[in-house]
Symmetry: C2
Subunit: 371 residues, 2 copies
């Protein structure tokens, strides 16, 4: 069955057809996707990933099948609304054999990143002579440029995250634990319009120097630096913002470091325009921090794309030569971390425009003192 | 560095050593695990799965490494507490090459099910002559038999799910949407002690015949059958219960079907004892439904293991010859579905005991009428 064009231009069938032609362009014989943001993007279907095989098989000529366990088929039918042919299998049957028959003649196949290893290895046994390549780049290329509906959801999520920061900085910090503040952030993210909170990193005092710190029972005290990195999901799209504050007063040597990170974030922002390569944006931030003598303290890339996943293409990192294009959305989040002392990170989500970039987060980036 | 035995017998280092000896027993040269319940089980470390490679490499002699991006290393250090050697890599470096060097001489390696495809394929390129097999069975064997702390968490989660059902059946159903009831269940699951709600399936009227129905705007009316299948996470462990109720009165022909499913669930329960194969439990439930003439309506397996994941080994399905052993926990959830009319499913979590089984869910299984 051919994929049917949907009525709206953002419909998933239109996306299936774009995936088909992308396959044809790069000389791939098929695309295999399990439950994932990729599958949701192409078909509108968003099942829980389970050990039972659920697999979309897309061919370059526009033919597409969705292999589903029988008990998932009502949900699959409802979500895909006829845009893709369903092939059902029952518990006890061998779904890999079934896929093997469909894929008999292919020699090069792209496989989605989230397909479980047991499925990947079982499919390799069915088509031993076929070369598997990750579908990461193919799907990243399709998904990285957001359509207006997607931008609208990302905009609303960013504003809800902004309001969450405005609310949290008015709260009492002294005497509270990181975990308690993290729970408060999660509550506020939902209150401000997210469907769910996704993550709330709160690193205080020396923990602010751990970029992905899990909130613990550290009790916040005056002179603590507090890094808060949080986000939620709104209609399938994510927010992600980081602000760093100080409690009562800044520790010695902190202000200068904060200003350097802030300048690095602005330099990255100014570096964005259509055609610029992703790594150039990373270099712009890194140059500012390097010149200030803190190159070793900036232990991560400058940013990551954001959309149906919190982290997706384009990655703003050395080695990524992808040219930026209008509609791409990603984070700018340089940081400096001094182990045992403190850290700073400042993060906004931005969208590439026709002549530069626009920040989706409008929240002030100057250094706030909390109490 | 050798894995160090932890102080408590349930400690993750002890589990690492058990994984090492399991590898040796089945003649595997290494085990590779990304962020997953498997990694959490063995090391206590539970990072978000990210596109940056995080990988545990375990050898049969007890040697074990954890490859982590530099920015994740403080969290990894804190969680693993010296039980496994950390190998750090920076954004921009090639972590696969690093793993390739560590794995130079291996010929057969087990790979965790949740490792992303791009990682699996990149690792295959580093060790092209090595055979990869899924680590599913190896890790399932270790994780399926729960220790007392795990059973305690599963018990508490089951009781919280029981209380949620007791509360929801006292609520008004008529006139409410499935989605509204689902949100109410999610709220109650947390209120009753879960750290978070994981899923709330509410299928009413003809939707009760779709086993994994997503709650929608269907408005519940008298004579509707309502299947509610819900669960949450408590300290990393899951609950999962299904109850089917009728609104005001049962539709024609429903009562008999309900009694058959209830008898099938009890037959499965009675079939459990140490040494019985998992598929025998499935057959026991299926025989009851088959004798009643509804074999075609029972479209899924009888159950699945439960623990750090909602679905894990042992699967209670035809073809699974795993002998049951004390401490194994799984669901018993036979169902019958008549498309376009209605469905029934009744599910409890059980634990295998020395001489049979015990239900963790104590909630009554008789047919309730709601209003």
């Amino acid at each position: 069955m051919k994929a049917q064009p949907a009525e709206s231009s953002g419909g998933s069938s239109d996306r299936l057809l774009r995936a088909s032609s992308a396959l044809a362009d790069i000389g791939l014989d098929a695309l295999l996707l399990g439950p994932s943001a990729d599958l949701r993007y192409l078909t509108g279907y968003s099942p829980m990933p389970l050990e039972r095989l659920i697999l979309a098989v897309v061919f370059p000529e526009g033919e597409a099948h969705l292999i589903v366990p029988e008990l998932e088929s009502p949900g699959a039918e409802a979500a895909t609304a006829g845009s893709i042919e369903l092939i059902r299998w029952k518990d006890g049957a061998d779904p890999y054999e079934l896929v093997g028959k469909i894929l008999r003649k292919i020699s090069r196949v792209a496989v989605g990143d989230r397909l479980w290893t047991s499925h990947v290895l079982a499919l390799q046994r069915q088509i031993p002579s076929a070369e598997m390549v990750p579908a990461t780049e193919l799907m990243g290329g399709l998904r990285s440029i957001k359509d207006p509906d997607e931008l609208d959801a990302l905009d609303r999520a960013a504003r809800a995250a902004d309001r969450t920061f405005e609310l949290i900085r008015g709260q009492v910090f002294t005497g509270r634990t990181e975990r308690d503040l993290g729970a408060e952030l999660a509550r506020m993210l939902v209150e401000q319009g997210h469907d769910r909170a996704d993550f709330t990193i709160v690193g205080a005092g020396p923990n602010s120097a751990s970029p992905h710190h899990e909130p613990i029972s550290w009790r916040i005290a005056p002179y603590d630096v507090v890094v808060m990195d949080f986000g939620g999901e709104l209609e399938g799209y994510f927010s992600d913002i980081t602000r760093t504050v100080v409690v009562e007063d800044e520790p010695a040597g902190f202000r200068q470091m904060y200003e350097v990170v802030s300048a690095a974030q602005e330099a990255a922002f100014q570096a964005i325009k259509p055609g610029t390569r992703a790594q150039e944006v990373d270099r712009a931030a890194r140059a500012v921090i390097g010149e200030a003598g803190w190159a070793d303290g900036f232990v991560h890339r400058t940013g990551h794309g954001i959309g149906l996943e919190l982290h997706e293409a384009p990655y703003i990192v050395e080695g990524n030569g992808t040219p930026l294009a209008p509609g791409m959305t990603f984070s700018l989040e340089p940081g400096i971390y001094l182990p045992g002392r403190f850290g700073v990170r400042i993060e906004d989500i931005v969208v590439v425009t026709e002549d530069g970039a626009r920040r989706l987060n409008a929240s002030d980036r100057s250094l706030y003192v909390v109490h």
